[in-house]
Every structure is written in structure tokens, then in C-alpha cells.
Amino acid sequence: MTARTRRTAAKRREHLWCYVLLLPLLVAFGGFTLWPIVASWWYSLFDWDGVGNPTEWVGLANFVEVLTAPDFWRAFWHTFLFSLVAILIELPLALAFAILLNNARLRGRNLYRLALFVPVVTTTAVVGIVFVALLDPVRGAVNEILLAVGLVDAPINFLGSTTTALPTLMGIDLWKGFGISLIYWLAALQTVPKDLIEAAQLDGARRASIVRHIMVPVMAPIAIVIMLLLFQRSLGTFDLVQAMTAGGPVYSTDVVPTYIYRYAFSPEMQAPRYGFACAAGVVFGLLTLVLTLLQAPALRYRKRVAV
């Protein structure tokens, strides 16, 4: 045996070991991510209540029903609105706070960060219940304060009215997720080299040009990742809506995940409709994909800058 073949044999043995270590991941990933994606497609072609094997083949009927259901599109629109609020309001607002709190000379900044971050680590169901109590039209603290200050004449039924329920939930969602966006931005700000800024200041660069020529290019790649993460989180909005309104009143806060949940698991339904729920999930997944691909120009920019 030459030294060379011995080396390749050793390498091969090492790779074999690597795959042994990878096995749990491959099994978990295959079973709980890849297979469900494929299985959703398959199940969506059946009219199936989840009992036994799916046998009643209905072809694309479920898809036709999803695509023509105004309820589905309303839920999708609400999900999309959650994303818009996250990207257009939460993202810039968190950046402003991050810049403020990134200043080393600001005393007590850790305390501020803490206060803004605590909602992130809190159980959504708890958040939901606390806010339901706070927003109660009869004894809720928010209405009592608004009445005492004289901002409103009559208590507002924040969660009980079809016009106010969705904006209220969006506000709470922003409250809960804000801290994580803040941490993302603070991490991004750390990547801007301090000596670069100081050098630019020494050269007499103005604040605006430092922002434009140093901070924006350095932070852009991470900013795009932050945007994608936020977008992804907002698409998955379920916990808060389910815990607070379960999509009501009159479906005015319904989002796609609560819509799917209702058809598949809700005890209120007589019989679960797994096939239909899967079809809704597949359509939702495809729409998400399209929306993510629409951000491809941003991703290409990220690649170009990162080089």
C-alpha cells in the first residue's frame, strides 16, 4: 500500500464518519421538512378528513376552491399587511432606536435595550391575555387612561370591532417583535468599522456623506438579511392572532395560518378537511415563494456588495 492510497483510505474513513454524524440531521430534516413539503402536495389532491389513508381523489378541486375563496384571499391580504407593517414601520423605527442606543456615551442604554427586548422572550399567549385585559372596553386600563385624558368620549372596543381589531393586533405584533429587530440592527451597526468613520471625519467628511458612503454600503448586506428575516417572521403570524381573536370578529383578523388551522384542527369544524387545508398551505407556500423572489434584486445587490 503506498502512502497515497493510505491517505485516501483515511480520508474516506473520515468522510464516512462525517455522514454518520450527519445522519440524525438528515433523518430529522427529511422527515420533518422535506417530506412534509412533498406530502402537502399529495394530500392536497384528496378530499380527506385525516382518518385512514387518503382515497377520495379530487384532483385540483381543492386548489380551485382555495383560489376562488374570498375568505382565503382576505386571510392572505391580512398576512401581507402584517409583513408591510413589519418592513415599513418596524424596520426603520428599530433602526432609529438602534442608532440612538448604539451611542456608547448614552447612560443606561443597557436598561433601555432590556426594556425593549423583554416582550420578545415572553410567551405569546401571555402577551395575548394581558393585552386582552388591558384593552377591555369595560375595565381595561387603556380605555380608562384614554377616557381620563379626554382623548375619547366612549370606550373603544379594540378587539371586538371589525375596524379596530386588525390594526390593534398589528400594533401588538410590532410591540412584541420590536426588540429582535433592534438587536439585529445593533449587530449590523457593530460591523461598521469605527476607525473608518474616524478617518473620514478627519478628512472633513460630512455626516450625510459618512452615512451614504460608509454606513450604507457596509450595512446593506446585513440589512437585507434583516428584512428577509422580518418578512419571514411576519408571514408566520399565528400565535398572537389565535390567542387573542382566533381570526375574529367576523374573520376581520384572519391570517393564512389561522385559516389553515381552522380547517385542519379546529374543534369547531365538524370534520377536519386535511386535503383542503393542505391545498391552502401549498398555495400559501407558492405565494410566499413569489413574494420572496420579488426581493431577488435586493439579494443580487447583497451579493454584489458582499464581494
Binding site: 464518519w17 454524524l21 426594556a115 416582550p119 410567551t123 472633513g204 428575516l229 395560518p257 389553515i260 420572496t292
Partner: protein, 306 residues
């Protein structure tokens, strides 16, 4: 300074934009617009953050108020006659004790599964020259953005097929198995950054591949293990969607988040009891977070940067 004044060039020193030599100043130091007074922002930050944490303050205070005081309302945040009744009612009558035990089991299982799967995979993927490495990482990252609601039905059916339906292990599997991209990348980055001399030395000492991993590499990865464990502890403790779906058939297995939600549906008038239950369910995460916030936040920040 005094010499320049007496030498007759005394017109310049008053001008702050010029150096004592009369040349234009290039570096304005603290006086330039770039450096503003940060302390002014307290005026805005203090009230803002108070509003931000108000729900928590309200919750903690309501947990100690008597039911009568809650019914009367009022904005006072200090309970008139503090009581622990709400806690005992939540703990026994509303089964929060049971929910707490379930939550602990669920969380420990999730953290254990995630750590096991991701540390092994992270190490394997950090080895140079592994065939299909890029493909595996690529697929992992690509599926990161799939919404949870899309895959929940097949996952639910799979867990039932495995005979783990209506069990905490089944719920923990459903929670832990699909979400491991970020920890894998964290472990991969850490192990990839280790000097190769370390392994060579182990090899010379006669340690095999697995022994090297277990007794040398893994103990060194403590910071990553801590970060991953902490992040998953908090997310599993506060999980809602997966435990909700997986305990529908067996209310005895509810975790705190799910129990909270059901409690609320039935007895919506007992806000004091609810506040006590809410306090029981968030206290562990908040305490752990307060103790280990630096690790936690750095872990999240590190995950975003990489």
C-alpha cells in the same frame, strides 16, 4: 499661547475653526454636528420605555391584587392588600402546576434534541472536503423561509404514524426537528474556526474521529452549546403553535402557553387569576434571560451576522 498673542497675531485665536497657527481646522472634534448630546434622548426614551414595559408591570401587580379589587378596576399599580390567593388558585384549580411540569419536560426534550442533532451535523459539515457539503448547506438554507403553517399537517400525521401522537416527545420532535438551520451554522462556524493542529495532535495521540469530536472538540464548543441551548430554551418555553396542535387530543399534556390560552377561553372574568398564571408562565424565561442576556443577545446577533 501667550507668546503668539504678544507677537502681534492676536486676531486669530478667537476663531474656533482655525488652529492656533491660523490654519483651517480639519478635525472639529465634539463640536461638529456628528457628535450630538446623547443625554437629551433620555427625555424621549424614559417615557417610551415605561409605556413599553407597562403590560408587564400591570401583569405583576394584577397577580397580587384581590379579585374584588380587579373587579372595581382603577389604574393603581400597587395592590391595596397584596395577596397570594391568585397564585394558589392558578397553581391548583387552573392546573398551572401540571402545565409547568409539562413545559419543563417539553423544553428539556426540545433542547436535548436540537443540541444532539445540530452539534453532530455542525461538526461533520465543518470538515473540509466533505462531498455534497455545499448541497446540504444550500438545501438547509433554502428551506429556512418555509412558513410553519405550511408543513404542520404532514408533521402532525408523521408523529401520529410514529406512535408518538398525544405525547410530549412527539410534540418536542415536531418543535425541534424542523428548526435547526441557525444552530447548525453556528456550530459549523465554530468548529471550522478551530486550528487543525488540535486535531492532528489528537490523531497522533491515537484518538479516532469520534473520540476527537467527543472529548476534545465538543468541550471547547461550550459557548456555542450555551447559546443554542438558551435560544431553544426560550423559544420552546414560549412555544404555542406546535404544543397547541399536538395536545388537542390530550388536555393533560398542555404546556403553559396552551393552558393559558384555554384558561382564558373559559374563565375570562378572573383577570387576577389569569395574571397570576401569566406571571408563572413568563417568570422563568424572563429570569433566565436577565441572567444570561449577554449570551442570548450575542447569539442572536452572531446568527444574523453570519
Amino acid at each position: 499661547m501667550s507668546t503668539t498673542v504678544t507677537s502681534g497675531t492676536s486676531a486669530a485665536p478667537a476663531d474656533p475653526t482655525r488652529t492656533p497657527d491660523g490654519l483651517p481646522k480639519l478635525y472639529h472634534g465634539r463640536k461638529s454636528g456628528w457628535r450630538w448630546r446623547p443625554q437629551l434622548s433620555h427625555l424621549f426614551l424614559v417615557p417610551f420605555c415605561l409605556v413599553w414595559v407597562y403590560p408587564f408591570i400591570w401583569m405583576f401587580s394584577a397577580a397580587f391584587k384581590s379579585q374584588r379589587e380587579m373587579l372595581l378596576g382603577g389604574l393603581s399599580l400597587i395592590p391595596e392588600e397584596p395577596t397570594l390567593d391568585n397564585f394558589s388558585r392558578a397553581w391548583t384549580t387552573a392546573k398551572f402546576g401540571e402545565y409547568t411540569v409539562n413545559t419543563i419536560i417539553f423544553t428539556v426534550l426540545v433542547v436535548a434534541i436540537v443540541l444532539l442533532v445540530t452539534s453532530l451535523a455542525g461538526y461533520a459539515l465543518s470538515r473540509p472536503g466533505l462531498p455534497f457539503k455545499k448541497l446540504i448547506i444550500g438545501i438547509l438554507v433554502a428551506t429556512m423561509f418555509i412558513p410553519h403553517g405550511y408543513t404542520i399537517i404532514p408533521v402532525f400525521l408523521l408523529v401520529n404514524e410514529l406512535g408518538l401522537g398525544n405525547s410530549l416527545l412527539g410534540a418536542a420532535l415536531a418543535q425541534a426537528a424542523p428548526v435547526h438551520v441557525v444552530p447548525v451554522l453556528l456550530f459549523m462556524g465554530f468548529f471550522g474556526g478551530m486550528p487543525s493542529e488540535l486535531e492532528d495532535a489528537a490523531k497522533v495521540d491515537g484518538a479516532g474521529f469520534f473520540r476527537t469530536f467527543l472529548s476534545i472538540m465538543l468541550p471547547l464548543a461550550k459557548p456555542v452549546i450555551g447559546t443554542v441551548a438558551l435560544m431553544n430554551f426560550i423559544s420552546a418555553w414560549s412555544a404555542f403553535f406546535v404544543p397547541l396542535v399536538f395536545t388537542l387530543g390530550n388536555p393533560g399534556l398542555r404546556t403553559l402557553g396552551v393552558g393559558m390560552y384555554n384558561f382564558f377561553g373559559q374563565e375570562s372574568t378572573d383577570f387576577a387569576g389569569l395574571a397570576a398564571g401569566a406571571t408563572i408562565s413568563v417568570l422563568p424565561t424572563i429570569v433566565v434571560f436577565l441572567l444570561l442576556q449577554k449570551t442570548f443577545i450575542e447569539g442572536i446577533a452572531g446568527a444574523v451576522k453570519s
